[in-house]
């Protein structure tokens, strides 16, 4: 069995220009045999709105310098871990004084140094924002707020809300807020959003608490509803409201069918009675 752990798996930090930040990682060899690994840093960009990343054709920010402060270890150099051994890696991140404010995203990889057929690498993401002030400007727009299904019945199906949030600023933020559903200016339901990172100049698909789809479950009163997304944090954003109509389609359809059948049978029986007479 080959097994390796890294802690922490994700680091989010705000660093001033010219500052140096030190983060301690713990690598554990859970295997039953010694392994050779190396530590490397790779830059990435988000890919798509669902939290995927790509390492291809990503330009590294030359204003960052990464190194290991361990006296006996360096980046891109192999080192060995015995079975059960826990190794501390002290990653030093230095931002040049002239660095422009904004975000850079990296992964610290622990890569198995293997000439064999299958090798593994375990990564810990770094989301680094650089700014000379703690109060950074974040701007967003909520787009593609859609509601399904098309026919919203008072009983039958939950109503699902899908939306993307576009980060129009240079710094990532978290989607903290809610979807507020109102009818006749009365708030009927608040669906709390899950806290997801929306990276600089990228989009993220909104999800509700516990990483579930945002749904509003029946039964509902018929009528005109409005759904609005409200963000809680200091992000300045534009958010459209969407109105939708809920109607007792199923009951109405059932009523029409039954009425038709009743009228049909009444006419049919009436004709039969006439012919008998």
């Amino acid at each position: 069995m080959f097994s390796i752990s890294i802690s922490p798996p994700l680091l989010e930090l705000l660093i001033k220009p010219g500052a140096t930040f030190i983060q301690t990682y713990f690598i554990t060899n859970n295997s039953t045999t010694p392994i050779n690994v190396s530590a490397t840093i790779e830059a990435w960009q988000p890919s798509g709105p669902d939290g995927n990343v790509t390492y291809t054709n990503v330009q590294e920010n030359p204003s960052f310098t990464f190194s290991l402060a361990n006296s006996d270890l360096s980046l891109n150099k192999n080192f060995s871990l015995n079975p059960g051994q826990k190794q501390q890696l002290i990653l030093k991140i230095k931002a040049n004084q002239a660095i422009l404010p904004g975000d850079s995203y990296y992964t610290l990889f622990i890569t198995q140094a293997s000439q064999t057929d299958a090798s593994a690498r375990l990564g810990s993401h770094l989301l680094i924002s650089t700014s000379s002030t703690e109060n950074i400007t974040q701007k967003a727009a909520v787009t593609k707020l859609s509601i399904s299904p098309i026919f919203k019945d008072i009983f039958l199906t939950p109503i699902r809300f899908d939306s993307l949030i576009d980060n129009q600023s240079n710094f990532f933020f978290k989607t903290q807020g809610k979807i507020i559903i109102t009818k006749d200016n009365l708030t009927l339901k608040e669906l709390e959003l899950e806290s997801l990172n929306v990276l600089a100049h990228h989009s993220r698909r909104l999800q509700c608490k516990n990483y579930t789809a945002c749904t509003y479950t029946p039964p509902f009163w018929p009528g005109l509803y409005t759904a609005t997304i409200k963000l809680d944090n200091s992000v300045s954003y534009t958010s459209p409201s969407v109105t939708f109509f809920i109607f007792p389609y199923f009951l109405t359809g059932l009523f029409i069918v039954l009425t038709t059948l009743i009228i049909f049978f009444a006419k049919f029986l009436g004709k039969k009675t006439e012919s008998t007479a």
Binding site: M1, F2, S3, I4, S5, I6, S7, P8, P9, L10, F26, T28, N30, S31, P46, D50, G51, N52, V53, T54, Y55, T56, N57, Y105, T107, F109, Q112, S114, T116, D117, A118, S119, A120, R121, L122, G123, S124, H125, L127, E134, N135, S195, L196, N197, L199, Q207, N210, Y211
Partner: protein, 483 residues
């Protein structure tokens, strides 16, 4: 001469009379009550610190002045996440003496993270930082004398600094009755008669301070109605204070001056007295209450991600992906998949066991790519990536039932992975070549409840015309937490 003597006597008598009116009259012999106890609903010291220099409007990280003589509280000990702190206002346009903030996190002994940025009226060095803690005092006592129309009095230590005993600011040498803000509800508001529950339906009153043995005390009195008497040797209860959501209670002191170390309690005296209908003290007992910092208990569960490659159920006779593995499976290791000599005109199947777990919010993803196509190490002739029975790609699976051509691909048998990328009954896929074509094979967008596992099943076919030789390539698995 005679006149001077008379005048001196009159002054002396006046002084004595004045002094007597300031103190309750005491009976010739005062007995003690039995079983006197004051139980506090909250024995936590109030916090009173000062802001350090260097704050800026909008800051959410604020720093306390750590000077040991700067304020009664000079570290963040006794502050907790979720506490409301009041920071003093200054400057024009401030109608309130303080602005409230909520603690989001405690950084270290000096720094606090608050949920909203510091206001412009609070960014001055030495601004008081106050978190009051109040307590409902439940007094139980057993009088030994039965009296009618009597009074029960509770005296609790007040500050010796004149005018500060009921301003809503925690005192270092006594309890504070709170500030009169027109309402009796809320933390720090003035204790009023409606916050007191008297025994035997007595009438409550909150008096001014009284000096007993040179020490100032707040006085709370319960007066029984005329004709109503207490019984001797019967326990009675007096409750002073109500929960802040419905009333007020007495504010606990801040750490006393000259205190040796944090964690050692400050001890204060209280007195319970039983007066007769003429306000003469018949019984009096002293007790002690202790207030101390609350203990902040912290524990950290480190976020971790773990990825493993194993050989569980992928040896000879193993049954991943609906297959039964042959003899070559005995050579599979976590880092090596050795097909050995391929059977021409047949499927050659091997597998590995993958598992991943993390406690990071957002879950994890595992991807795989091959470094290059399966290649003859001597001649660079390749075995191409499969297109199955036609139509499978690196993204789309399809059934693979023909083995006349030389091909290389894989499928997944999801054991308990949170998100199914695809399952083996949907067919096989080709590996993406190079890191730019890494494809997801395991994923969970939430925190897994347990280690999640899947089999990856490799399939290799060789046609009758495939060049002889040793072929190899390399697969790279990448596991990361979702950002």
């Amino acid at each position: 001469m005679k006149l001077k003597f008379i005048l001196s006597g009159a002054v002396l008598i006046s002084l004595l009379t004045f002094f007597c009116f300031q103190k309750a009259k005491v009976a010739e012999s005062v007995t003690a009550m039995s079983s006197v106890k004051d139980t506090l609903s909250n024995s936590q010291l109030s916090f009173f610190g000062k802001l350090d220099a260097g704050s800026t409007a909008g800051d959410t990280i604020i720093r306390l002045n750590l000077g040991t003589t700067s304020a009664p509280s000079y570290t963040t000990a006794n502050l907790f996440v979720g506490d409301t702190i009041a920071i003093g206002n200054t400057g024009p346009g401030t109608s309130q003496p303080v602005t409230n903030y909520v603690i989001e996190d405690i950084g270290n002994t000096a720094t606090i993270l608050i949920t909203t940025g510091l206001g412009t009226s609070n960014v001055w060095a030495g601004a008081p930082v106050i978190a009051t803690h109040s307590a409902v005092h439940t007094l139980t006592f057993t009088p030994n004398i039965a009296l009618t129309g009597s009074k029960f009095q509770f005296l609790i230590r007040a500050t010796a600094t004149g005018g500060k005993e009921q301003d809503g600011i925690p005192d270092q040498d006594g309890f504070d009755l709170g500030l009169d803000i027109g309402t009796t509800i809320g933390s720090g508001s003035r204790l009023k008669t409606q916050d007191i529950t008297c025994p035997l339906s007595g009438t409550a009153s909150v008096g001014t301070t009284e000096i007993v043995s040179s020490v100032p005390y707040h006085v709370v009195t319960c007066t029984l109605a005329a004709g109503v008497g207490n019984s001797a040797s019967t326990s009675y209860t007096m409750t002073i204070g109500r929960d802040p959501t419905t009333g007020s209670s007495i504010i606990n002191p801040s750490p006393s001056s000259g205190r040796l170390t944090a964690g050692s309690a400050d001890i204060y005296t209280f007195i319970i007295r039983h007066l007769d209908s003429s306000s003469i003290i018949q019984e009096s007992t002293q007790g002690k209450v202790a207030v101390v910092e609350a203990v902040r208990v912290t524990a950290t569960v480190d976020p971790t991600i773990t990825f493993s490659i194993g050989t569980s159920n992928v040896g000879t006779g193993g049954t991943p992906c609906g297959l039964t593995l042959g003899a070559a499976a005995a050579n599979t290791t976590p880092t090596s998949v050795a097909f050995g000599s391929l059977t021409i005109g047949a499927f050659n199947d091997l597998a590995q066991y993958l598992s991943c777990v993390t406690n990071a919010a957002g879950g994890y993803v595992v991807t795989v790519y091959e470094n290059s196509q399966m290649k003859n190490i001597g001649t660079a002739t390749t075995i191409p990536d499969t297109n199955c029975d036609g139509g499978c790609t690196t993204d789309t699976p399809n059934t693979w039932s023909t083995y006349t051509a030389s091909e290389w691909g894989y499928t997944i048998h999801n054991i308990n992975v949170g998100t199914t990328i695809f399952q083996y009954n949907a067919g096989y896929k080709a590996f993406g070549a190079g890191s730019a074509n890494a494809k997801q094979i395991m994923k969970n967008t939430t925190v897994p409840s347990a280690s999640e596992a899947a089999y990856i099943c490799y399939r290799l076919t060789a046609s009758t015309t495939q060049e002889a030789g040793n072929y190899e390539n390399k697969l790279i698995y990448t596991a990361t937490a979702t950002f």
